[in-house]
């Protein structure tokens, strides 16, 4: 008999006042009984809209049924059939706009907590079972994967399983891409990412760090070296700025820089880790996506007294995950909505002392399907801050497109691919994830990595 409670089983979490002072994970995860209770809320409907709502078509009702039957390992294996990185997806996927948004239970009350259950399953497996990874027999054919973020990791994993001699080239000194440098520890513990990377290595994937493709080697060089196909999963790493006065004052960061200093370079451990970051007492984060929430909550944890999210639309239009917005508010982040910066103000030494903003009102619906914010005349006002973090988005890095002849790209930088095969305008070169779509989500990038691996296999089989 299904559990007909209208609400999800609550997620145990660190108390807001405690967690906004540490970098430990906010959500603590379901215990076994909680997971079973929540799994019983799934009514196993026949049409399974959730599976359609998932970019990688995880067999959601099936794994949830296994949880309800307390076969946690079976549930894990069921997810793994279509998703290589469940511990990560359970934590960072925007479930409310994917699987959970179409859940039948969501028509009346809250949808089934699919994300929480996925996370529980992955964590349970990690705690209780050793992964028996066997290195598949190699077919001796070399494939290069550029970038070790979600797209590259999932592409390399699938290729290795099919027997390809796969090498990942990573520009940073640590693999993981945005999972390492971008998403903070309190949302995605680095240990989990490391485990996924380690299991790829066990599958035989080679990872070469400190390799900036486009500089030390071009894609043509890779073909000359005997790689028969290349996957570009270089993400969207180029930070956007607003082009308003004062953006080069001391104390203005891109969210990329701020988060990279803290996450990858461990500036939270300064001076034990020598890379510094200046957080200041009052911080304004401009933007309304997950990156903005991550930056704001990191600033708070680094000791900032007041942290503002400055966003030009209303909360309804915010692209961040609901859970992150909710957590940010609980942690004391102050939301300045319908507010748009027009100028950053500096003191006589060139450091930030304030941000001048105007109020916005929502006008007609624009091409993004959201109501366009319009400036309210005469509403200029200054918020006193000493740090400004710009988190208004990233675009793809041109290092590869500018050094590869015949690789076509969109005007805004995205690599152009055949949507079915993810092959680019260069034969044998495939691309996916943010490098193609512009900044999107971890799960979409992983889906693209998988799709590309299948296409590469098809391409090489026919070659």
């Amino acid at each position: 008999m299904a559990n007909m409670s209208l609400k999800k089983v609550p997620m145990p979490e660190q108390e807001p006042d405690q967690r906004n002072k540490n970098f430990k994970e906010v959500a603590l995860g379901y215990e076994e009984n909680m997971a079973v209770e929540e799994a019983e809320r799934c009514i196993q409907c026949k049409n399974q809209p959730c599976v359609e709502g998932c970019p990688v078509h995880v067999k959601i009702p099936e794994f949830i049924k296994l949880i309800a039957n307390r076969d946690f390992e079976g549930a894990y294996q069921k997810i793994k059939e279509t998703n290589n990185l469940p511990a990560i997806c359970g934590r960072v996927c925007p479930q409310e706009s994917q699987c959970e948004s179409v859940c039948t239970r969501g028509k009346k009350g809250e949808p089934v907590a699919i994300g929480r259950l996925e996370r529980f399953t992955a964590d349970w497996h990690m705690k209780n079972n050793e992964d028996k990874i066997e290195k598949p027999e190699t077919n001796g054919r070399k494939v290069a994967v550029i970038g070790s973020g979600p797209a590259g990791l999932s592409c390399a994993g699938d290729l290795a399983k099919m027997g390809y001699d796969t090498t990942i080239f990573e520009a940073f000194h640590t693999p993981g891409g945005v999972l390492m440098y971008g998403i903070p520890e309190f949302r995605l513990p680095k240990e989990i990412v490391q485990k996924e990377i380690d299991s790829l290595k066990k599958l035989g994937v080679k990872i070469e760090t400190n390799m900036v493709i486009g500089k030390i080697l071009t894609i043509d060089d890779l073909f000359d070296m005997g790689y028969e196909a290349v996957f570009i999963g270089t993400g969207a790493g180029l930070p956007k700025f607003m082009n308003i006065p004062g953006e080069n004052l001391n104390g203005v960061y891109s969210a990329n820089e701020f988060l990279t200093r803290i996450n990858l370079m461990k500036a939270y451990d300064f001076p034990n880790s020598p890379t510094p970051v200046k957080v200041g007492k009052k911080v304004a984060v401009v933007g309304g996506g997950n990156v903005a929430m991550d930056a704001a909550r990191s600033a708070k944890r680094m000791g900032a007294e007041e942290v503002y999210i400055v966003y030009r639309r209303s909360e309804e239009e915010m692209p961040a995950r609901l859970e992150e917005i909710h957590h940010a508010k609980e942690e004391g982040i102050i939301f300045k909505l319908l507010t748009n910066p027009v100028r950053i103000i500096g003191d006589e030494s060139g450091s930030v002392k304030g941000i001048e903003c105007v109020n916005m009102v929502l006008g007609d619906v624009d091409e993004s399907g959201r109501r366009r914010p319009v400036e309210e005349k005469g509403s200029e006002h200054v918020i006193d801050v000493d740090t400004v973090i710009i988190a208004i988005g990233q675009s793809p890095n041109p290092l590869i497109t500018s050094t590869t002849e015949g690789l076509e790209k969109q005007r805004w930088g995205g690599i152009i691919v055949n949507e079915e095969t993810l092959e680019t305008s260069r034969r044998g070169v495939f691309a996916g994830g943010d490098a193609v779509t512009g900044a999107a989500t971890v799960i979409l990038a992983m889906g693209a990595g998988k799709k590309a691996a299948a296409s590469i296999h098809k391409y090489l089989s026919e070659k």
């Binding site: 030390i216 790493g237 180029l238 930070p239 700025f241 080069n248 990329n256 880790s273 020598p274 030494s349």
Partner: protein
Amino acid sequence: MNEILEKKQLNPTVKMMVINAPLMAKKAKPGQFVIVRVDEKGERIPLTIADYDRNKGTITIIFQEVGMSTKKLGTLNVGDRLHDFVGPLGKPVEFSKDTKRVLAIGGGVGVAPLYPKVKMLNEMKVPVDSIIGGRSAEYVILEDEMKKVSENLYITTDDGTKGRKGFVTDVLKELIEKDNKYDEVIAIGPLIMMKMVCNITKEYNIPTMVSMNPIMIDGTGMCGGCRVTVGGETKFACVDGPAFDGLKVDFDEAMRRQNMYKDMERKVLENYEHECKLGGILNG
């Protein structure tokens, strides 16, 4: 890979290292830079490529020991390996085929990034006059190397212990006023020196290339920490530079940004020196 093959002290604070990096040596070009990490926890330190040898597969770096990380780098010896060595990064410099005569100016450790450019011009058979300077005699580096690739080499020191007493800008003014015709000036050194040089060359309307070395993390365009304003536009030194049109660079902003972490850098250095002392005592 990344093994230190040679190490030389060029002056009390500047060291040179030749690094085994065959792949990078194939691709490196004048004007590019590398990023080095000394150890597991280390900062990412951007350093200019001072020279490269494609046949031997080596990259030469020259660095001044300023903060904790460069001091730590300086303690490594021949046979040690750099934990991380990334590059070549940045845009290589380009010179027009019509270039007839160039004046190269280097201050302090800035002579290190200047040298490969002058060497390149020399290989292109473009005559170069060079001015190199330092605080005092011992701070003038790469004198012999620069002499080999320059038609005339002028040396200045602040205290007159070598060459002429004064600044590189004094010689620059004289050379221009003596009617020497230069198609281009290259100036690399402390920001204040590059600013002074550009103030002069602007008057005479001589195109001037400078090389910026701002604070950066990844060196691939990802963080935007290395923002430089050039001609009113924001550029990233790591991917758009490090060489820029000096007549358009906002040096005051660059100097201000350079000082952003001064206090914190000092703290790390003090801790490090304290630990070294302590280590010295404990090790007897």
